[in-house]
Subunit: 434 residues, 2 copies
């Protein structure tokens, strides 16, 4: 409850404080156990929402694995289906696998986990767990904030509604959500929003430079990720925040990653279905797929789910979602995604529109329907600080990972992650025998 001036400065620098104190602690030195974070009753080193300390590394190493203890969440129940068992065939040789990062340094797979501040990782090969590890503050039965991995779930819901004839991707956003008419979203098509090709006055910069509140921080305040500074007059809630975003250039141009697109897509989906996002994720995925654990999604002060980054889930359950997509949409004896929806997710986006983003490891790739595409046919859900679902059809491999890297943007993390995943795919499914 006590907001000091220092805390408010910290708030202004949300998600980037590590940049100010280089070098950050390494992965092994920054675990909650090593640092005594949230140990004791009450904790001697607390990690809090109300002073934004939860956003400062190394506090993030506890916070990301304990998200719902920090913010309000809506339940996404797993229901009564028996857990779908993921069989296991551990490959103990993976840790020694060596490869070169995009920066040219040769490291091992085990090194990569530390360099990316991995909290948990599970690798499925041909549907079986071949590798699974937990570090930091995460336990196998626990849950972790997935950040923008959430977006790929929202994009998948949108493709399902398109397939069902309930959503027309060519219609303007304002035709579904009139409140967006006077915002930058108003005349963007649903497809442009799904593919992040909108011209919006919103800068997805997590580095927190400068003294003014960034767009990302203002979005976080509206969405309940951080308290409002005294006297703050910004938008009240995630949807009001969307309606406040002005246009900035034409729609349909180059890819430009902006979280409000996913939040706006969530708004359209809720309007069409009359259901909150939490209930849709529950009825469409969690309650049907034999998930291991209930999931949750962060809600703002009006109960609006964070479609851009609020999913809190168990790691193996993310792997199940990825494996369901890899294997064509059938899971647990049911059709979770239709063939057409699977195809819609798997078809890459506009490669030319993506090129200018110069995203590390994604040369020749694209972005479509809130999924990232690599040139090799892999599709990815990615969230800040290293969250991800990675689906490699050729290697018959699915990876789910939670992490708490000090730097938010995956531009800083992919130079290790992408070649690590390439090396593992080649190791598990060598090209010569494919």
């Amino acid at each position: 409850m006590i907001r000091t001036a220092a805390a408010l400065l910290l708030l202004a620098a949300t998600a980037a404080p590590a940049a100010a104190q280089s070098p950050p602690l390494g992965a092994a030195e920054s675990t909650p156990g090593a640092l005594g974070l949230m140990q004791g009753f009450p904790p001697t080193r607390a990690v809090r929402w109300d002073d934004a300390s939860m956003w400062a590394f190394p506090n993030t190493r506890w916070a990301f694995s304990h998200w719902r203890e920090l913010v309000p969440t809506a339940a996404i129940r797993r229901g009564r289906e028996p857990v779908t068992v993921l069989t296991r065939k551990d490959r103990l040789d993976i840790d020694q696998l060596r490869f070169k990062t995009l920066r040219g340094t040769e490291i091992s797979w085990a090194d990569a986990l530390g360099l990316t501040y991995t909290d948990g990782i599970v690798v499925l090969h041909k549907g079986r767990i071949v590798y699974e590890r937990y570090f930091g503050g995460l336990e196998p039965t626990g849950s972790h904030i997935a950040f923008s991995v959430t977006k790929s779930f929202i994009g998948t819901l949108a493709e399902m509604l398109i397939d069902e004839g309930r959503l027309d991707p060519n219609r303007p956003m304002a035709s579904y959500v009139p409140e967006l008419a006077n915002s930058g979203f108003g005349n963007a098509t649903v497809r442009q929003v799904m593919d992040m090709r909108t011209g919006l006055a919103f800068d997805e910069d997590y580095s927190g430079r400068g003294t003014a509140l960034t767009d990302v921080t203002r979005m976080g305040i509206a969405g309940g990720s951080a308290p409002a500074p005294a006297g703050y007059k910004g938008p009240d809630g995630s949807y009001a925040f969307l309606a406040s975003i002005a246009a900035n250039g034409a729609h349909g141009g180059d890819f430009a990653y902006r979280t409000p697109n996913a939040q706006a897509l969530g708004w359209v989906i809720e309007r069409i279905t009359g259901q909150p996002i939490a209930k849709l994720l529950e009825s469409r995925f969690w309650a049907k797929m034999g998930m291991e654990e209930d999931a949750a999604i962060q809600v703002d002060r009006l109960g609006t789910a964070s479609s851009g980054g609020g999913l809190v889930a168990n790691l193996r359950d993310l792997a199940r979602f990825g494996e369901m997509i890899r294997t064509g949409g059938r899971w647990n004896g049911q059709t979770i995604l239709s063939r057409r929806t699977i195809e819609a997710i798997r078809v890459p986006g506009d490669v030319a529109a993506f090129a200018s983003a110069r995203y590390p490891g994604l040369d020749g790739g694209s972005y479509a329907s809130q999924w990232w595409h690599r040139a090799g046919g892999q599709i990815m859900a990615m969230g800040v600080h290293g969250q991800g679902i990675y689906i490699d059809p050729r290697a018959e491999m699915v990876i789910a990972r939670f992490a708490s890297h000090p730097t938010a943007t995956n531009r800083a993390i992919n130079p290790v992650t992408i070649p690590a995943y390439d090396a593992l795919g080649e190791f598990l499914s060598p090209r010569e025998v494919r």
Copy 2:
């Protein structure tokens, strides 16, 4: 995020605003559906934490069934045990059962549910569900804030630790929690705290009269149930709040119901076990008993569970807990509570010490180990606004109920509840055939 003057006035009157606007809406007229509470995206009638509107009837009718969408919570996982099935033999004649309230009015059981603003009720007779209804904002798979029903779980944990030789009820509180040494709790024994026979400068008055913040509101601010007014300098967190409570008279005198006793008992339990309350409730009860749903407990900004009133649970799971106690501590093929712990819970407290409380429906009753005892051998967990677990050994009956009565204190609700439960016990297990 926007705190208006009106909202702060509301905050000062937490939990009692209905008193200001008589008569309140009836049960059927005040459901979230009837009023459109939290309907729409975003909702046109919002129920919020940050302006304390969640505490004002009729908003409570939505809030109490959606607690974790309003405040941070720690998970209490049900784990992997198959759900213990409660067999069902519906008694359709219960609704017509007639009885006289303590005020002398003859009403039916169905009337009583409305008069008590019941959100959900389940009645077990000889272990089978004979009656189950949901109203308001609660669904059978949903969860509801249990308020002070939480205390009876904490008291049960304490009795378990006593039975295991890990907690000595005759030792002073400060010997377990040195931070309490200079507070009113310091020289109280654990037993005096468990039985609410402490002399503390804390007034458990929910009526919110006057302009100053009440003790209950200050406790709520510390525990995260309500935002702090601008410039508020009160204790930071539930444990700091406990340490700030002064003595007010001798310990060991008459029963005086004060929530901080339960919170302090939770503190002792966490210190002894080194485990947070959420983990203890999980490992001791939820993960062993074949519960239907994960539960949760509200946490403050330091992650401290609200041992005095933060449990969020499914209704049938509360019934399972009650039935486990009624049947002697065995459940789901395991010993959940030892024979000695069951006896410790079932033995009444000091009847003379309780008499001055003049609690409606509890003449000749008592309070011990955070449970309420009636003269007829029934034991009860009670939470404000009508929450309860009712165990009637003679009638072989267990009732779990969630409610959102406009008035906080059960003194206003028991005049209907207690004779209703007596009538039902007699109906299901008539005395002449017992």
